[in-house]
């Protein structure tokens, strides 16, 4: 029997699917060698409408597809998050392919597909749907990572990501099948009900460990972090941005649904394991980031460190912890995307990702320089910027749950990260540029940079409304 489907709940995914199909049709109709970026324009228009549409849908809630698909505040929050992230990624793509030109349209299709995957992740209430959603996202990312056919680094990154990603998918499926074997279901709610009446068996434990390995791969937590730096460096920069924000957030949604929704029913003490992983992840990420000379690699390791900070919220295992994760990701969205926007514009003109070449950036383009500095300072967690309040909430969550030692390790990490962020900030702001020609930025990018700066500052100063949204999302778990 085909289940009764409540279409209003999956309206966003449906529209995204339709947009994708329409765009493909447009691409076929369009003359082959038009120089105008029609698909990019249309994507922007569609995305703007989607965001407006989605803001009006904030009260949507319920489940459909026999409980596989859930629409709650968490899903709403993260879908909005992904839509905003995509605005930046689309703009980056346009900017990035200005110099490359060819095969641009397929890239847009892959981005739309990735967006579809991410939105589905936000709403998955079933391991099977979660798997499909994550694969939709990841497979488009594989293709995009290796998109630069002639670039060795890009090919290597794609290969590395594909092999390790496939391995982690294998883990995930293996875990899911074991979990199905022991609980007779893949649905989160039913597993929870099962757990309330049955004790944890060793098979279930094995299954959960497998699944956690797959999640760890997605968020780039130690010891599943080996791919991060190489892929971040080699992938086309818009993909790096998407990986660092979208893919990471998707991983954390899965993690939260798992550790706040399903697993607590077994009354297991995962907190300590997560706390230890969090400590190792942030320390390793920060220590290695100190020695990077390539800005994309620096952000790669810094993103490992941030995964470590975010894991603090999961270790805390409370509503406050989940709120912290949500808020932190929100701040991270603007902060990181602003930084990648700068990287794309800069490397588009200068053809380099060396940190040394960023010397005196603020003199060559004040807007680029200031955006980069603000985002670095925000990542370091210094007020009044967005990154500070996220760290504050996460620290509070772990201290509240009794992991004072973890908070102290985080404090040491904050100092280490401040060091390498400030080294870059100093290079941009203080040092003399090697070449002093001013950089010109397209208006569209200018607008987005200003938006990102506003996001970073507003979230950092007027934390209240953003905190409420993050908390509502966390309460849905």
């Amino acid at each position: 029997m085909f289940p009764v489907v409540n279409w209003s709940l999956i309206s966003l995914e449906t529209i995204i699917g339709l947009v994708l199909v329409c765009l493909i049709i447009v691409d076929i109709i369009l003359p082959k060698n038009t120089s105008k970026d029609w698909i990019g324009h249309l994507s922007f228009v569609a995305l703007s409408f989607l965001i407006i549409f989605w803001i009006t849908q904030s009260s949507l809630s319920g489940t459909t597809f026999n409980g596989m698909f859930v629409m709650d505040q968490l899903a709403w929050f993260f879908k909005a998050f992904f839509l905003v992230a995509m605005v930046f990624v689309f703009a980056m793509t346009r900017e990035y392919f200005k110099t490359l030109g060819e095969r641009r349209n397929e890239f847009y299709f892959l981005l739309w597909l990735a967006l579809l995957g991410m939105c589905l992740v936000a709403s998955s209430a079933d391991f099977l749907l979660m798997f499909i959603a994550i694969e939709t996202l990841t497979i488009s990312l594989y293709v995009m990572t290796a998109y630069l056919k002639t670039d060795k680094l890009s090919i290597e990154a794609g290969m590395k990501y594909l092999i390790l990603g496939a391995l982690s998918s294998g883990f995930l499926l293996y875990g899911i099948s074991f979990l199905y074997g022991s609980t007779n279901t893949t649905n989160f709610a039913l597993i929870k009900a099962f757990a309330n009446t049955n004790a944890m068996s060793s098979v279930t434990l094995f299954a959960l460990v497998m699944i956690f390995a797959a999640v760890g791969f997605k968020i780039g937590a130690v010891p599943f972090h080996m791919w991060v730096a190489d892929v971040y460096q080699g992938a086309p920069t818009p993909v790096t941005a998407l990986l660092s924000v979208g893919s990471k957030a998707a991983g954390f949604i899965f993690l939260m649904r798992l550790f706040f929704g399903v697993i607590p029913a077994w009354h297991m003490q995962w907190g300590m394991t997560l706390a230890v992983l969090s400590a190792i992840t942030m320390t390793l990420g920060n220590l290695v980031a100190m020695y990077q000379t390539n800005i994309k690699r620096l952000f790669g390791y810094s993103s490992i460190a941030h995964a470590g900070y975010l894991l603090m919220g999961a270790a805390a295992g409370t509503v406050l912890g989940a709120t912290g994760i949500n808020f932190y990701l929100l701040g991270y969205l603007f902060t990181n995307l602003a930084a990648f926007l700068v990287i794309i514009v800069f490397s588009g003109i200068e053809k380099t990702d060396d940190i040394a070449d960023y010397a005196g950036l603020v003199k060559r383009s004040p807007l680029l320089g200031i955006t980069m500095i603000l985002s670095l300072v925000s990542l370091a967690g210094i007020p009044p910027l967005a990154g500070f309040f996220g760290k504050f909430t996460l620290l509070m969550a772990v201290v509240k749950s009794g992991y004072v030692w973890l908070a102290l390790i985080a404090a040491v990490n904050i100092v280490i990260s401040t060091y390498y962020y400030l080294v870059v900030a100093k290079r941009i702001y203080v040092d003399e540029p090697r070449i002093s020609t001013p950089l010109t930025i397209p208006t569209e990018i200018r607008l987005l940079l200003v938006m990102a700066i506003l996001g970073i500052i507003l979230i950092g100063i007027f934390q209240g409304p953003f905190f409420d949204v993050a908390m509502n999302a966390a309460k849905a778990l």
Binding site: P383, P384, V404, A407, A411, V415, L422, G464
Partner: protein, 491 residues
């Protein structure tokens, strides 16, 4: 009576910040004017607040309270009592003087004033906040502007100095933050509001076992900010390499945030732990006074002498905090003010000398009093003030601290008195080498400050220093009710 709205202290510099941002970078004259005016008005306001504060009534007045992050109990809560209204005056005077003497900055003027204004907002905000979260928030804002300013306008070893200073302060702040969060979580009232927490903890103090480690985190964290021995090394190199305005503001004002935080959050909120730990702090404070004093004596660089001197004087503040009596606390608050003005003044003078002579090495200087009678006289006077000569604010403050300390620590107090002698020795040496003796030929053509406008910042700070030195009651009657309340809590 009309009472001032405390938010203006933040809005006006913020407005100035906005205006400076909008002004084209070439119009340096207008930028300087905007900055001076938007820093001057809060200074006048601070005088008004100081005068309007009713010290017979005591407690916190002129409250502004807006809920900010309701689920966590964070509110934008401003208010002043005797202590922070006095410190506002310090911020006002020091920041205005710093803005005025910044006229010697010629490169990247616009950025300079933007960063300066952010630093000023940070200091006002920290001293105005009655919400622990916002205190921390404002106190941390200064970190990056100071880092950038030292890096751009600092002297020879600026890169090293800026990084060292910032990392030490960030480390201290992070430790303190964890302490403050733990404090918040253990009050059990879901509020960062200082007044509410104070009320709650007076009835239900935190268990001693928990107090102990929270207290250590907070005192260690903010202790780094007040250059508690042995965590002072960032300050000596930092102040020496920083541009004059930052040396003035940091040694004069920003550093005091640490002492203020220890007083407000550690002593008042956890008095039981304070009694266990503060004697150790008092002992370390003696190291501050004597060790840093002796090191100052060996320095040949004038700015290093003063930086070590500043760390040495923090010892008296820390010693006073360990007294647990009204006299000691009065001394601490008094000294925060007097030392703040004194430090701002002496760094301003040194900045002027360095700018004229292009050196701060005492061996290369000499006889400057002949060509710079005004600046030289100022330096001598402020050096006397620093050494605790009667007639200046520092004398009153240090005497109060020593009297307060005698109650608890006879031996340490005797040692601390020698600190005054050490101070006198190294400052007299600085005067002798720098300002007396034969004038070097290359300095023949140097000029003193000529116009009244150029003299004004020095005269203003000096006048304040003499005023509070000759009329101690102006301050003592003002802060007495507030320190008495605190002394009653921590007895």
């Amino acid at each position: 009576m009309i009472t001032p709205d405390l938010s203006w202290f933040l809005i006006l510099p913020l407005l100035g910040l906005g205006l400076v941002c909008l002004t084209p970078a070439e119009e340096t004259c207008r930028i300087r004017k905007i900055s001076n005016i938007t820093i001057l008005i809060p200074f006048i306001l601070s005088v008004w607040v100081y005068a309007a504060y009713d010290h017979s009534l005591g407690g916190f007045q002129f409250l502004v309270n807006i809920p900010w992050v309701a689920p966590l109990g964070i509110s934008y809560h401003l208010g002043v009592d005797g202590i922070n209204s006095l410190l506002l005056l310090l911020v006002g005077a020091a920041s205005f003087a710093a803005s005025l003497i910044s006229s010697s900055i010629k490169t990247r003027v616009k950025e300079y004033y933007i960063l300066l204004l952010i630093t000023v907002i940070s200091t006002y905000g920290a001293f105005l906040s009655l919400d622990i979260f916002f205190f921390y928030f404002f106190h941390e804002i200064a970190a990056v502007p100071v880092f950038l300013m030292i890096n751009i306008w600092g002297s020879a070893r600026r890169e090293y100095a800026a990084m060292k200073l910032t990392l030490f302060l960030v480390a201290g702040a992070a430790l303190a933050l964890i302490g403050l969060i733990a404090l918040y979580l253990n009050t059990g009232i879901q509020s960062f509001d200082l007044v509410q927490i104070q009320r709650e903890l007076a009835i239900h103090p935190i268990p001693m076992a928990i107090q102990n480690w929270i207290f250590v985190l907070i005192v260690l964290g903010f202790g780094i900010t007040v250059t508690l021995w042995p965590f002072y090394t960032w300050a000596t190199v930092g102040y020496s390499e920083a541009p004059t305005a930052i040396s003035m503001l940091h040694a004069g004002v920003l550093k005091k945030m640490g002492a203020y935080a220890i007083l407000r959050f550690a002593l008042v909120l956890m008095p039981q732990a304070a009694h266990a730990w503060m004697p150790i702090i008092a002992a370390l404070a003696i190291f501050n006074i004597l060790y840093c004093g002796f090191v100052a004596f060996t320095q040949r660089d004038l700015k290093y002498v003063l930086s070590y001197s500043s760390c040495s004087h923090m010892g008296y503040i820390l010693l006073g905090l360990a007294c647990f009596n009204v006299i000691g606390l009065n001394g601490v608050v008094y000294l925060m003010f007097a030392h703040g003005i004194m430090a701002a003044l002496i760094f301003a003078i040194t900045g002027y000398v360095e700018e004229q002579t292009k050196t701060r090495n005492l061996d290369e200087l000499g006889g400057l009093l002949k060509v710079m009678p005004f600046i030289g006289t100022c330096f001598m006077m402020v050096a006397f003030a620093s050494a605790g000569v009667p007639g200046f604010g520092n004398f009153v403050a240090e005497i109060l601290v020593l009297l307060g300390a005698w109650d608890h620590y006879h031996f340490l107090t005797i040692l601390a008195v020698f600190g005054l002698v050490v101070t006198a020795i190294y400052l007299l040496k600085a005067i002798r080498l720098g300002f007396q003796g034969p004038l070097k030929p290359e300095f023949q053509k140097l000029t003193d400050t000529t116009t009244l406008a150029a003299k004004f910042p020095y005269v203003m700070l000096m006048a304040l220093l003499i005023l509070v030195g000759c009329l101690p009651t102006v301050i003592l009657s003002h802060i007495d009710s507030s320190t008495r309340t605190i002394a009653a809590i921590i007895k």
